[in-house]
């Protein structure tokens, strides 16, 4: 489904990623773990086209997508959420998700300005269909709230709803459980499993080991920009190198 091979990234003199390779199978939930500064967010930034990698290749279902900009990747079915939530703060929750349907609609600037009949029909479709994702993530009752005023946990859910509205094939989530309480984390893991059940491949950066061990099918461990290990949760848990890397970390 998603294949990363030999991806490296330099920032000035810092090697943030060093020839990282792994493959993600369709329909899996894959966890990417590693201590802070391991390069997990950088890896996501490269896969989703936000950074241009220094070297390496990213292949999505057989097509080389390395270096494509994020908006092209979204059309190819690759979306993500952010470690520091990036909402459209000035818009309502509903409108946020409606923006997520941008690739599923096509009226241009002029058609919209002139209110052509097809763009009006499309607008209605966007408005109605987007409600589905609010339901799916359980934030329907907040539809008319301004996104900037959302509590943190709901903000994370909105980000996921907006990403799902793109109807992606792969969704990458950067620390979705960070800052959530136990109950919210539990709900999140159910949500992630439901997302997978719709056939979407999930890739997940997470520090909450309990969550990772529970829901992930496979795990990739990064440390200091290098891939340390890869395998099932069981295998990685018992890997001495992984344990060594985490020594001193409180997870």
């Amino acid at each position: 489904m998603l294949e990363v091979s030999g991806v490296s990234q330099l920032f000035g003199g810092v090697i943030a990623l060093d020839r990282v390779s792994f493959t993600i199978a369709k329909g899996d939930i894959t966890g990417v773990i590693g201590p802070n500064g391991a390069g997990k967010t950088t890896l996501f930034n490269i896969i989703t086209g936000i950074y241009t990698r220094t070297a390496g290749k990213v292949v999505l279902e057989g097509t080389d997508v390395s270096g494509l900009p994020p908006e092209r990747l979204a059309r190819l079915g690759l979306v993500r959420t952010f470690q520091n939530i990036e909402l459209f703060g000035g818009m309502t929750v509903h409108e946020n998700v409606m923006v997520g349907m941008h690739t599923k609609s096509s009226s241009g600037l002029l058609a919209c300005a002139l209110k052509m009949p097809w763009s009006v029909a499309e607008e209605r479709r966007i408005r109605d269909n987007s409600l589905k994702w609010l339901d799916f993530t359980g934030i329907s009752d907040l539809a008319e709230t301004t996104a900037a005023n959302l509590p943190f946990g709901q903000g994370r859910l909105l980000e996921i709803a907006r990403a799902l509205a793109v109807e992606p094939r792969v969704i990458l989530m950067d620390e979705p459980a960070a800052g959530l309480n136990n109950q919210e984390t539990l709900a999140l893991s159910r949500l992630i499993e439901r997302i997978r059940a719709t056939g979407i491949t999930v890739v997940l950066v997470e520090h909450d080991m309990e969550l990772v061990m529970e829901i992930c099918d496979r795990i990739v461990v990064l440390n200091l920009g290098k891939k340390l290990a890869e395998g099932t949760p069981r295998e990685t848990q018992d890997n001495p190198e992984v344990i060594a890397a985490y020594l001193g970390e409180d997870e």
Partner: protein, 319 residues
Amino acid sequence: MKRELLKFLAFALFVCLVPLACRGGYLINVLLFVGINTMLAIALNLLLGYAGQISLGHAGFFGLGAYLSGILTVTYGWNPWLAMPAAAALVGCLAGLLGFPILKLRGHYLAMATLGMGIIIYIVFNETIELTGGPSGLSGIANLSIGSLTFDSDCKNYYLVWFFALVTVLFSLNVANSRIGRALKAINDSEVAARVVGVNARLLKVQIFALSAIICSLAGSLYAHCMTFISPASFGFNFSVELLTMVVIGGLGSVYGPFLGAALLTLLPEILRGANDYDIVIYGALLVLMVMFMPGGLVRGFPELRRRLAKRKGGVEHA
């Protein structure tokens, strides 16, 4: 949606009736300028209020529209109704071309680049004397006419200009409530998140920049044909700042805010007549005070102020 339409119709009716109240005279000339400035402010607001991209060079596009219309009709004898869209198309293309490198820039750099663009355009108006007449201006531009109806009085021009201004309002209203409007606001709030869900931010920014320039160009053509005389002084950096002031005072990202700002800033010098030299001080003070105390502009500032006052009252009662 219905309410928006009613509001617009009420606004249009208001615009149509105003001339009756002021019984011709000088005021109508000023109100005509409110119409032109409303178009310009809406154009800038599409770019700055929705997409969050500043321009300090919009007076340049306004001037290009005016000069292209003027030159095509006076020097080359074109029909004004042909010159106007030709000018708009040309300006749109220019803005589209310049937009790609310019809108790659952000924040202060974008402000500076658009400012530089505006100043260069202004210098060109001054220096290409064979074409534009240079600093002494271009005169003898014909009034517009439809059949035997010539728009040669302030009153006729008022309705002509406001016809275009109302169409512009409707345009921006439609854009604001569409997928494009939402995408623009998304770019403003978080460009990276907008791109990740598939919004082609670069292209959209350039498109809205070009549309905005086209509206300015149309306003410029109207200005040229109403005034029959144009000179570079109307299209300099100061006017770009004045446009910015209108949008900020009225309220960024709102549909009627730019109109409020345009009306206020166009009428202000008339109200302060005699105190002619003070207007520059007042512009400056207005800009500073608005950004500091009412960053949402008049359209949002007043309701918010009322809410805050009400809250304060409520608070006192509780205590």
